[in-house]
Amino acid sequence: MTEPVLSLEHATRRYGGFTAVDDLSFAVRPGEIYGFLGQNGAGKTTTLRMIMDIVPPTSGTVRVLGSTSPRNVRRRVGYLPEERGLYRKMKAADSIAYFARLKGVPRAEARSRADALLERFGLGEFRKTKIEALSKGMAQKVQLLSVIAHEPELLILDEPFSGLDPVNQQLLEDMIGELRAGGRTIVFSTHVMEHAERLCDRFLMIAHGKKVFEGTLAEARALDGERLVLVTPDDPAPLRGVPGIASIAPLGGERFALLLNEGADSQAILAACLQHGVTVNGFGADATSLHELFFRFAGASPAPDVQREAA
């Protein structure tokens, strides 16, 4: 196994009496897209700030690109914070060049990279436009470009999709894919499970500052157990107690999830449905979505904003 690009060992961060991140350990491998999932306030941003050495951990170790002092490798890391901003009076190309220069890129190089990036992402004509005159989507793109202009090996994106319309969300997904293809390692946090499901190789889920799961989607599903989806206008209550069915959960509408015990026979369960007079409009195996897994693992009650953004 290659050396991880980024690892946390028993990292804890307290603000006064409040523990934002509690004994968190995980590792990100080179070249992967690593999803960082958690509710608002779960400790995502604090963890990412510890990685960037903006706040130091109260205890534990943070190792980035082989260094325990992330400050030393700052120039090889790009960081897009959750709440974004640029100098409103600065021009697009100047903004990108400025942040690249702060990361040690020489002046002429920074300027030419800024122009090239804007050109490549369809903003060439806005090079000399002030940020305040750009649309929100364009400004977000400029911000992302300013984070990658110094060609970082590791890219940390905090909620990169929030506030983007679907078209720009797709553009960003493409960009992230392209960066991975270029050999970068990408860590991004989100509470929108669809993006994570599509993009990420592996996930970390945290709740209340603690790790609740780390691994691939398949591993998460395996942990969760097999399930069937039954579509019926009737009440499936009579199916309780049928051998092989561990529990029944409504999925909304006429859909119900039947969680199965290990080794349960789905044919026998279908037979049981007919036997108990439950109308079967649909029946079949179903891969649990990350969305549901998240609720399961994080033990979270669907907070209104999570529900809305996930919908």
């Binding site: 960037m52 903006i54 700052r74 960081y79 100098y87 009076k89 400025y98 702060l102 300013s146």
Partner: protein
């Protein structure tokens, strides 16, 4: 490296703005306006024709004398300014007769008489002409704007003054023109002075008639003439001859100023006054700079904080670098305007050939005293102390409105000693001066003003150590507040939060 970027960014952000460029323009433009207004005023001032109906027959000569004195006075003032300006520009002293030599003191009667006797401004121009390169424009005599004319023929000169006034009204109100030959270039009567036959200090009033009450020049001249005439007759009644009175009135006590602790027994000169006024100027510059740069520090910090730019910045540079970048970058913004104006002034002097003298004077002042570098030391320390306070307030605020609640009291504390500065200047080792010296936030001001005035060494060292220590402590805790504050969100800063942030190490 990154620090340099931060400084350049702060500097560019404020200097390359329309507002700053306009600000740079305002001062030369307003100076030009001032000059233009003065010039227009001098050129366009109308000739004021006035007439006097004097039933006593005693005051006409006195009035003419006062008007003439005023004219000579203006002529001398014009001439002196002309010569002083030429001497500064050519860097030489002209060889002139005593009557034409400019004086720094107020105009004496002697000088006035001598100047007029020597032939006035025309003779003066002739005296200097050979010493000037050909083509130099001569001094121009100011226009003579007050002119006394004879009353129009149809105005009754004796009898009831009311009749005379009634006859004069159409002329004063512009309903009738003056006869062309009488008035020369003035066609309308500006004012009339009517002196009744029994006019006296405690007799009947003289009457001044005009439509223009705003222009008091003429009225004051006439009042002066009548007053001095009345005084002279009063002196004569007491038995004092007119000559003796005039001589007594010319007495002016000679008083030379020496500085007891400066070398030599020469009269106090430029260096002594420079030593007094440079610290005063620096103290005010410090105050002005803190007030203006403080606002920029606030907006810059609050903008980065509310835009969340600060988080991106902090992923690239440390909070300490960020703070230093702001302090230095904005200090440079603060001195840009004064430096530009100085350079412009210097360029102007070079153009007119007076630069050498100015350089010598500036060098003498800057390097003549070992104390001058100290002024700059206090200037820098004072700036760092106050600027870090503003930074900390900015770091704790999410918006400018939030910041205002802290800035108000800070500004008051900052300008509190202003009323006392005069006292410090006049009594540099008095109680007020000593108290201000030992309050660190006022130490830079107080020491700058006392250092040339026999400030005891132990006080200087003690207060300076205290100031440096205090500034160090302020910088340390404000740095903490800045580091901890810029990432937190919340409303207006509270003292409680400040204490909490300052006591958190990271």
């Amino acid at each position: 490296m990154a620090l340099w970027q931060l400084i350049a960014q702060e500097y560019r952000k404020y200097v390359l703005t329309r507002g700053f460029l306009l600000f740079l323009l305002i001062i030369p433009v307003s100076a030009l306006f001032g000059v233009a207004a003065g010039y227009l005023n001098a050129v366009s001032q109308p000739v004021r024709a006035f007439t006097v109906i004097d039933q006593t027959g005693r005051y006409g000569a006195e009035i003419d004398q006062v008007i003439e004195n005023r004219r000579v006075r203006r002529e001398i003032e014009t001439w002196d300014a002309y010569v002083t300006g030429l001497e500064a520009v050519r860097d030489r002293e002209f060889d002139l007769p005593e009557a034409f030599r400019p004086t720094e003191d107020d105009l004496t009667l002697d000088r006035r008489a001598a100047f007029a006797e020597a032939g006035g401004i025309e003779a003066a121009n002739a005296a200097i002409a050979e010493q000037l390169p050909p083509g130099t424009p001569p001094a121009e005599a100011p226009r003579h704007t007050l002119r006394r004319i004879e009353p129009p023929a149809d105005v009754p000169l004796s009898g009831d003054l009311a009749a005379a006034a009634a006859a004069l009204r159409p002329y004063l109100n512009g309903e009738r023109q003056l006869p062309a030959n009488e008035a020369e270039d003035a066609s309308q009567l500006f004012a009339a002075l009517l002196i009744p036959a029994d006019f006296d200090a405690d007799g009947e009033d003289a009457q001044f008639w005009t439509t223009n009450l705003a222009d008091v020049d003429l009225r004051e001249a006439l009042r002066e003439a009548l007053t001095s005439a009345l005084k002279r007759s009063a002196y004569a009644e007491q038995g004092l001859p007119a000559d003796a009175v005039a001589e007594i009135e010319m007495i002016d006590a000679p008083l030379a100023t020496y500085k007891s602790d400066s070398e030599g027994d020469e009269e106090a000169g430029f260096a002594e006054f420079a030593a007094l006024y440079i610290p005063l100027a620096l103290a005010y510059l410090l105050l002005v700079m803190i007030m203006s740069v403080g606002g920029m520090l606030l907006t810059s910090t609050v903008e980065e904080k509310s835009n969340k730019i600060v988080e991106v910045l902090l992923s690239s540079v440390s909070a300490g670098e960020l703070m230093a970048g702001k302090l230095i970058g904005l200090a440079l913004v603060g001195v840009t305007a004064p430096v530009l104006f100085l350079l412009a002034g210097f360029a102007g002097l070079t153009l007119f050939g007076g630069a050498d003298e100015a350089v010598v004077a500036i060098r003498d002042v800057l390097f003549g005293s070992p104390l001058v570098p100290l002024f700059f030391f206090y200037f820098v320390v004072g700036y760092v102390m106050f600027a870090s306070l503003y930074l900390a307030v900015g770091a704790m605020s999410s918006s400018i409105q939030d910041a205002q609640s802290f800035v108000g009291p800070m500004t008051i504390v900052l300008i509190l000693p202003l009323p006392f500065l005069q006292q410090v200047v006049q009594d540099p080792n008095g109680l007020v001066a000593r108290i201000l010296t030992w309050i660190p936030i006022y130490t830079p001001y107080a020491v700058m003003m006392r250092i040339n005035q026999g400030l005891p060494l132990w006080e200087l060292l003690g207060a300076t150590l205290l100031l440096v220590a205090f500034t160090g402590v302020i910088l340390f805790f404000m740095g903490r507040i800045y580091r901890n504050g810029v990432l937190s969100s919340g409303g207006a800063p509270k003292l409680k939060d400040a204490v909490r942030l300052a006591s958190t190490s990271a």
